[in-house]
C-alpha cells in the first residue's frame, strides 16, 4: 500500500485522436493542499472527473487511500467530497432540502450535518430561499457545503472560486486552510489562477496540454524565485572580485550584457555602487528585481498562465 492519499499512475484519457490527459502521475500526501494549475483546457477537469469516476481513463490507474478506485469505489467515495465545475442543485428546492437529498443518499444520520455544513459556508441565514434565487457565488458555497457535509478525508475542488467576489475568494481560502489545518483534510484544488493556488497550496502540479509538467512544493518554488539586486557594469570580472573582496558576497550570478545578479545584501545597493564607481567600474543600471512566480510558469508552459 502506498503512502499517498491520492496517486495516479500514467493516467491517460483520449477523445478519438485528441489526448486530453497524457500519462500523468499525481502524488498527494495526507493533510496537504495540492494545487492543480493549468490554463483553461489544460486537462484539469478531465483529470478530476476521472478521479471522481465520472469519466473513465483510457489507460492508467487511480488510487485513493491506497486502493484502486475502479475496484473499491463504494469504499472510497464516501470518504471523498467534491465539486466538479459548477455545482448543480435542484432549483425548486432550498439549500437545506438539496443537502437533505445528499445526506439521505450518503446515509448521514446526524441531524445537525446539514445545518452545520450550511453554517460553515454562511448560508444558514435564509433557510426559505430557493436555490433558483441564489447567485453563482452562493451556489458555489452551497457546493462546498455539499462537499464537506459528510466530513470527508479528501476534498476535490475544481475551480471552486469561480463566480466568487474577492471577499468570497478570501473567505473560501481561509475556510479551506482551516479545514486542512483543523481536520487534516487533504485537498486537491484546481485553478487557472496562479495567485490563488500560490496562497493555498503546499504543492503545485502544473498541467499543460494534458501533461503534468512538474510537481513542486511552494517552498521549492519560492526558493527558485528569489529576489535579487541587478547591476549592469562595464567590467564584470572586476566587479565580482570586488563583491567577494569588499562584501564577502558569494551568492551572485553573472549574466549576459554585463549584468550581475546579487541574491544577498539586498538594500545595500548604494554602498555596492559606491565601491564599483570608486574602482573605475561604470554602472549603467541598478535594479531591485524579482522573478515573479508567474514568469516561472510562463517559462514552464510557454505561454500565459492566467486569463
Amino acid at each position: 500500500m502506498s503512502n499517498w492519499v491520492l496517486e495516479t499512475k500514467a493516467l491517460t484519457r483520449k477523445y478519438k485522436e485528441q489526448t486530453a490527459v497524457d500519462a500523468i502521475n499525481i502524488h498527494v500526501s495526507k493533510g496537504q493542499i495540492y494545487g492543480l494549475l493549468g490554463r483553461n483546457g489544460a486537462g484539469k477537469t478531465t483529470t478530476l472527473r476521472m478521479i471522481m469516476g465520472l469519466v473513465k481513463p483510457t489507460t492508467g490507474e487511480i488510487e485513493i487511500f491506497g486502493q484502486n478506485i475502479q475496484e473499491n469505489a463504494k469504499q472510497i467515495y464516501p470518504r471523498v467530497g467534491s465539486i466538479i465545475e459548477i455545482p448543480g442543485f435542484y432549483e425548486n428546492l432550498t439549500a437545506n432540502e438539496n443537502l437533505e437529498i445528499l445526506a439521505r443518499l450518503r446515509g448521514i444520520h446526524r441531524r445537525d450535518a446539514v445545518p452545520y455544513a450550511l453554517s460553515r459556508v454562511g448560508l444558514d441565514d435564509e433557510p426559505g430561499k430557493l436555490v433558483a434565487q441564489y447567485s453563482l457565488g452562493m451556489k458555489q458555497r452551497l457546493g462546498i457545503a455539499a462537499a464537506i457535509m459528510h466530513e470527508p478525508e479528501l476534498l476535490i475542488l475544481d475551480e471552486p472560486t469561480n463566480g466568487l467576489d474577492p471577499i468570497g475568494i478570501q473567505e473560501m481560502r481561509n475556510f479551506l486552510l482551516d479545514l486542512c489545518e483543523e481536520k487534516q483534510v487533504t485537498i486537491i484544488i484546481s485553478s487557472h489562477i496562479l495567485s490563488e493556488i500560490e496562497q493555498l497550496a503546499d504543492i503545485i502540479g502544473v498541467i499543460h496540454e494534458g501533461k503534468l509538467l512538474e510537481e513542486i512544493t511552494i517552498g521549492e518554488l519560492r526558493k527558485r524565485n528569489r529576489r535579487y539586486l541587478e547591476f549592469q557594469v562595464s567590467n564584470q570580472n572586476k566587479a565580482v572580485l570586488l563583491l567577494e573582496e569588499y562584501f564577502n558576497i558569494i551568492d551572485y550570478e553573472v549574466h549576459e550584457k554585463g549584468n550581475i545578479r546579487i541574491y544577498s545584501h539586498l538594500g545595500e545597493e548604494g554602498q555596492l555602487n559606491k565601491v564599483f564607481v570608486e574602482n573605475d567600474i561604470e554602472v549603467s543600471k541598478i535594479m531591485m528585481s524579482e522573478d515573479r512566480l508567474e514568469d516561472y510558469f510562463v517559462k514552464l508552459i510557454g505561454g500565459r498562465v492566467s486569463d
Binding site: 465520472l54 469519466v55 448543480g88 428546492l93 439521505r104
Partner: protein, 244 residues
C-alpha cells in the same frame, strides 16, 4: 432504494410539473365531456352512457394524450438531472446507477397511475355533472381496470422515450419522438394493424378489442419486446455513460 425514492419525491417539491401534468391528464376527460354534452344537446332523447364515455375517454388518453404526456414526464424526470447538473453530485456519492434508474422508474409508474386515476375520476365527475346514464359499480370497475391496464402498458412503453432522452439529453427529440408515435397511433387507429403497433396495442388489450386475424399474444409480444429492448438499451447506456 427507499432513500432514493424518498429523494425522488422530494425533488418534486414546489415543482409545477405535477400540476401541469394533472392539467394534461384532465384534457381528455374534459374534451370528451364537452363533446358528449354537445351531442346530448343535439340528439335529445338519445342517452349518453357512462360506459361509452369511459371507453371514449380512455381511447383519447391511450392513443393521444397519454403517450405525449407520459413521455414528457419521463423526459422531465431523467433530463433534469443533466440540465440541472445534479447527476454528478449523486453519482459521486456514490449512488448505484441502476438503483437510481429504478427509483425514477418507480416514481414514473406512480405518477402515471396517479394521472390515470385523475383521468378516470374526472370522467366520472364530468359524467355526474352532465347527468349521463347507465352508471353502476360494474361499469366503474370495468372502466377502472381498463384505465389502469392502459396506464401500466403506457408506462412500459416509456422505455424508448427514456432512451431518446438519455441519448440526446434534451426535451426536443423526446417530444418529437412521442409526437411521431402519436401520429402513427392516429394513422392506424382504425386499421387491424393497431393490434401489432405497441402503442395502439395498449388500447386493444385494455378494451379486449382483438382481431380474429391476429392472436392476442401478438399485442403483448409487441408491447413487451418494445419495452424490454428500450429499458435494456437505456440501462446499458446509462450505466456506461460518462458524465461531462
Amino acid at each position: 432504494m427507499i432513500n432514493l425514492l424518498y429523494t425522488e419525491f422530494l425533488k418534486l417539491k414546489r415543482s409545477q410539473m405535477l400540476l401541469i401534468s394533472m392539467l394534461g391528464a384532465a384534457t381528455a376527460p374534459f374534451v370528451c365531456f364537452i363533446a358528449y354534452l354537445n351531442m346530448k344537446s343535439k340528439k335529445t332523447g338519445v342517452p349518453v352512457l357512462f360506459n361509452e364515455v369511459f371507453s371514449e375517454t380512455n381511447l383519447y388518453v391511450v392513443l393521444l394524450t397519454g403517450v405525449t404526456l407520459y413521455g414528457v414526464i419521463a423526459t422531465y424526470l431523467f433530463n433534469r438531472e443533466y440540465t440541472e447538473n445534479t447527476l454528478k453530485n449523486l453519482l459521486t456519492i456514490p449512488v448505484s446507477r441502476i438503483s437510481f434508474f429504478m427509483s425514477k422508474l418507480i416514481l414514473l409508474l406512480i405518477w402515471i397511475l396517479l394521472l390515470t386515476v385523475v383521468a378516470w375520476g374526472l370522467t366520472l365527475i364530468f359524467g355526474l355533472i352532465g347527468q349521463f346514464e347507465g352508471l353502476s359499480l360494474t361499469v366503474l370497475i370495468k372502466a377502472f381496470k381498463e384505465y389502469i391496464v392502459g396506464g401500466i402498458f403506457l408506462f412500459l412503453l416509456t422505455a424508448p422515450t427514456i432512451l431518446v432522452t438519455l441519448l440526446f439529453k434534451n426535451y426536443v427529440p423526446s417530444l418529437v419522438f412521442t409526437i411521431a408515435i402519436t401520429m402513427v397511433n392516429v394513422l392506424i387507429g382504425n386499421s387491424e394493424y393497431r393490434v401489432l403497433y405497441p402503442w395502439s396495442a395498449v388500447l386493444v388489450i385494455a378494451n379486449k378489442d382483438f382481431f380474429p386475424e391476429y392472436l392476442p399474444v401478438y399485442s403483448y409480444i409487441s408491447i413487451f419486446t418494445t419495452s424490454l429492448l428500450g429499458f435494456i438499451v437505456a440501462i446499458i447506456h446509462f450505466k456506461k455513460e460518462e458524465i461531462h
